[in-house]
Amino acid sequence: MVVYGVLAGTAASLVAVLIPWLPTSASEEMDRIAFTFWFTTVICIAIFAIVAAVILYCILKFRAAPDDERDGPPVHGHTGLEIAWTAVPAVLVTAISVVSAIVLAKNDDAGENPLRIGVTAQQFAWSFEYPAEEGAEPLRAGELVLPVGRKVKLTLHARDVIHSFWVPEFGQKSDAVPGIETTLVITPKRVGSYAVVCTELCGLGHATMRAPVSVVAEQDYEGFLTRLASGPGDGQQGTTGEEIFASAGCGSCHAFEPAGSDAQVGPPLDDLTGAAEGAGLELEEFLRESIVDPDERVASGFQAGVMPKTYDRTLTDEQLDALVQYLVDGG
């Protein structure tokens, strides 16, 4: 009996230890989550080992012979045992609850003066808003760049439907919900490149709704902000057609050779001359209309109502021009 328990426990522990269950941590919050994870795992392995041992023991020792018609002993219960297996699990889950609550409080604590970055989610792209000097317009970019070792408080918004912000190596996750503001605290501790993954089903492009994340040294972060601020134009999601194509999330749904995207949610953008002729419009005019009012004309084989109708608000006229020119040149 004990042998089976030890065997089952060892097997489960090996599975737990030999397989790298969690991604390599890149934030202090993930370290604490990993601690909670392993704390819970130890308790669960013990419970699993007991249950597995009893099942195995019963199967091997109490198997009735085919011609054995007898009944087992008429045991109806045992008050002591019943109290024990009510009380012991209750204590164990309380312990897990306490550890979890402490970790949660620490992971939620943004400290005195965190770096505040705004996150905006929309179908199917992320954009990030960095603090600028007083009086200046906030700086926007399609990638998330964080200085290593500094507490960051993200403030999440959604433009259309619910999305969810998750960087697996950071551990922390929060939905971005239309109409309310949610927050998330992250303290990056490892320089490197990661990805934001949308984890809340948000429509056809959900699987490809990702954004690059870099954790960099403090001075590189300052350099990044300076580049953002000194960039020509107002800094809204980039200025060249290529940048806008990337930051507005076009590539999440549309295949476009020059941008290297091959998504199949929406119609491919590589050769639209035919479609424009079919609509009786100049190519530029056709592209502009399709971006601003996508449901006006829907390519055959695709549905209306899928592409966001928000681009006339989120893109400036100059950006729209640049994007159209980019598509005309590339296509």
């Binding site: 007898r70 109806h76 984890t199």
Partner: protein, 653 residues
């Protein structure tokens, strides 16, 4: 659906065998039945259509043919009502209201003498139970095929077979069918068959209501499946259907909104029927503390259904009203509150997890006691733990929303209640283990599935502890870890118990034995296929693969291929199951009344049982699991023909 009292006097059902005279000529069109259902479906559908068009014309609304509204009113409300009216569901009321003589329940709709009778409206709980089970397995096949299609898509990164819309439609359909048209009604079917027999009752309290509950089910199922034909494709916002995605989705979403209403109405009616049956129709001497645990389980489940199901009905109505009536429950620009949906939805859908689990607990208690030849260990605590889960089950819903942006203070209390619910669940697991301890175990197919359940459900329960812990859940929420967890609970848990129950009562339902060899083959294929499919999901989820994605990072490619291969093995295992069931039902060896030598009442009558279950209402004199107790009896049946005595043999040690 008012029913007359069931008399408990022997011989009161002598009327059985007198079929109602078959309708002829025009009467065939006007009498209740499929023919009338056909034209009344068309008539009601047309009426609904006409009313909408007329009022839109009257009000000058454009366009005249607004298909969202037309499908809700005409296709999904009026036409199904016409179908039910045609079948005769409302005849009693119509006769009563119009002052014509009503036809009291004369039990002429009871029993099945040939397989044709299973395709007629029947008021016999045993026939309805089988009708439920056959129907739900049709939807099980459809839901399973949907799963195999999207598993094929997931075998490799990038998109190969289906596009984003089709993929999202398939996952949503898979979940909706498996939950609302397989697991929940499969338990309703098994309980329909077993509970009245176990209580020593002649039928359910309301046989005609029972028939109506069943009739709603195919309607709900067809509605969900038909959404594939809707312009824009099937509903594709997941079975959780969070707004604003669902309020803005193509028309297929309406089919989900309405399908859930019909399935929900079916479950509520069945639950009421169970409650009244269990409270009022127990045989003399059958006190609550002498009821088999399956009955206890269905009692608590029915309470859950009655209290919780209206909440999902409301949540789906809100979504639909936002679309067709331009209400603004979830329209942020108009002051809507999108998290409100999640609170209402999970206030049903977490208890729904227990609706899908407690009846399985009941089945396992029966199977383990009988196949271990021992009394259930701690019977009263087992019953009380069901009640504890029922109560606690209503206090944990927001653990589905730890990352949803709800009030932060709610997280810790909801974590604590979610953790505590592991305690009564643990009590059940340990009690089952103790029941097996020193028993004389027999490993028939039902017992194999019970053991499979026990081991898999423990894993599902333990991963549930991880998800209850807020910090871990923040990392694991909405990833494949959650997918793994729910499949360990609902497949390793519920589906294994459904299989255990089907094999256990198969001889009683059909009067024939299934093939043990095929049953065991089915078990091992299922067990291996199940673990191979779902265990790796824990890993890919924690490593960073979100759920509900058609495309994923290349690093998860190999694991997904493994899962896909094993999921096809699961598909194969199902073929073995159906082959066994169909062949054994047609040609299996004739089963005796009590092949498992069980003590509960359903096994004390012939297989299949007489039309009215008991020739004489039994007198219950003791507990249901007195295995090994010398001279103990559960009930006395004086004229229990063709069956063995209810007395257990003496214990020999």
């Amino acid at each position: 659906m008012t029913e007359l009292h069931h008399t408990h006097q022997p011989g009161a059902h002598a009327v059985h065998g007198h079929e109602p005279p078959p309708h002829r000529g025009v009467r065939r069109l006007t009498g209740p039945g499929y023919l009338r259902a056909l034209w009344m479906t068309a008539l009601f559908g047309a009426l609904g259509f006409g009313i909408v068009v007329f009022f839109r014309w009257l009000g000058g609304y454009e366009p005249l043919l607004q298909w969202d509204v037309l499908s809700v009113v005409s296709f999904m409300t009026a036409a199904p009502l016409g179908f039910l009216a045609g079948l005769g569901s409302f005849d009693y009321w119509v006769y009563y209201v119009s002052g014509r003589p009503t036809r009291p329940e004369d039990h002429s709709g009871h029993g099945a003498r040939s397989w044709h009778d299973y395709f007629r409206v029947n008021t016999d709980h045993k026939v309805i139970g089988v009708q439920y089970l056959v129907t739900v397995f049709v939807f099980f096949i459809l839901g399973g095929l949907a799963a195999m299609l999207f598993r094929a898509e997931l075998a490799q990164p990038d998109l190969q077979f289906v596009d984003g819309q089709a993929y999202n439609g398939l996952i949503s359909m898979h979940a909706a069918l498996m939950i609302f048209l397989f697991i929940i009604p499969a338990f309703a079917g098994l309980a329909n068959f077993a509970v009245p027999l176990m209580l020593g009752a002649t039928d359910m309290a309301f046989p005609r209501l029972n028939a109506l509950s069943f009739c709603l089910l195919p309607i709900a199922g067809l509605m969900l499946v038909a959404s594939f034909l809707a312009p824009g494709g099937a509903f594709a916002s997941g079975w959780t259907a969070y707004p604003p995605l669902s309020t803005e989705a193509p028309m297929g979403q309406i089919f989900f909104n309405m399908g859930v209403q019909w399935a929900g109405a079916s479950s509520i009616m069945t639950a009421l029927n169970f409650l009244v049956t269990i409270i009022t129709m127990r045989a003399p001497g059958m006190t609550f503390w002498r009821m088999p645990l399956l009955v206890w389980a269905n009692f608590t489940t029915s309470l859950l259904v009655v209290i919780a199901t209206p909440f999902i009905a409301a949540s789906q109505f809100f979504v639909m009203f936002d679309r067709i009536m331009h209400t603004n429950f979830f329209t942020v620009a108009e002051g809507g509150y999108v998290l409100g949906y999640q609170h209402i939805f999970w206030f049903y859908s977490h208890p729904a997890v227990y609706i899908m689990m407690l009846p399985g607990f009941g089945i396992i208690s029966e199977v383990i006691a009988v196949f271990s030849r021992k009394p259930v260990f701690g019977y009263r605590l087992m019953a009380l733990s069901l009640m504890a889960i029922l109560v606690l089950g209503f206090s944990v819903w927001a653990h589905h929303m730890f990352v949803a942006g709800m009030a932060p203070w709610l997280r810790v209390p909801m974590m604590v209640t979610s953790m505590i619910i592991a305690v009564p669940t643990g009590v059940k697991v340990f009690s089952w283990l103790a029941t097996m301890w020193e028993g004389r175990l027999r490993f028939g197919t039902p017992m194999l599935f019970a053991l499979g359940f026990l081991s898999m459900f423990v894993l599902g329960g333990l991963s549930g502890i991880f998800l209850a812990s807020v910090p871990i859940d923040i990392h694991a929420s909405d990833t494949y870890f959650v997918v793994a967890h729910i499949h360990y609970v609902l497949f390793g848990g519920s589906v294994f118990t459904i299989f255990a129950g089907i094999y256990y009562w198969f001889p009683k339902m059909t009067g024939r034995m299934y093939s043990e060899r095929l049953g065991k083959l089915h078990f091992w294929l299922t067990f291996i296929g199940f673990n191979g499919t779902f265990f790796p999901m824990h890993y890919v989820g924690l490593r960073g693969m979100p759920r509900r994605v058609a495309d994923y990072a290349a690093e998860f490619g190999n694991w997904n291929l493994v899962m896909t291969v094993f999921s096809f093995l699961l598909g194969v295992s199902t073929v073995v199951f159906f082959y066994n069931m169909i062949l054994s039902w047609a040609r299996g060896p004739v089963a005796e009344g009590n092949p498992w030598r069980a003590l509960t009442l359903e096994w004390q009558v012939s297989s299949p049982p007489p039309v009215f279950n008991f020739d004489e209402i039994p007198q219950v004199v003791g507990g249901p699991y007195e295995y090994g107790v010398p001279g103990a009896r559960h009930a006395v049946l004086h004229s229990a023909a063709a069956t063995t005595e209810v007395r257990t043999e003496e214990v020999v040690r």
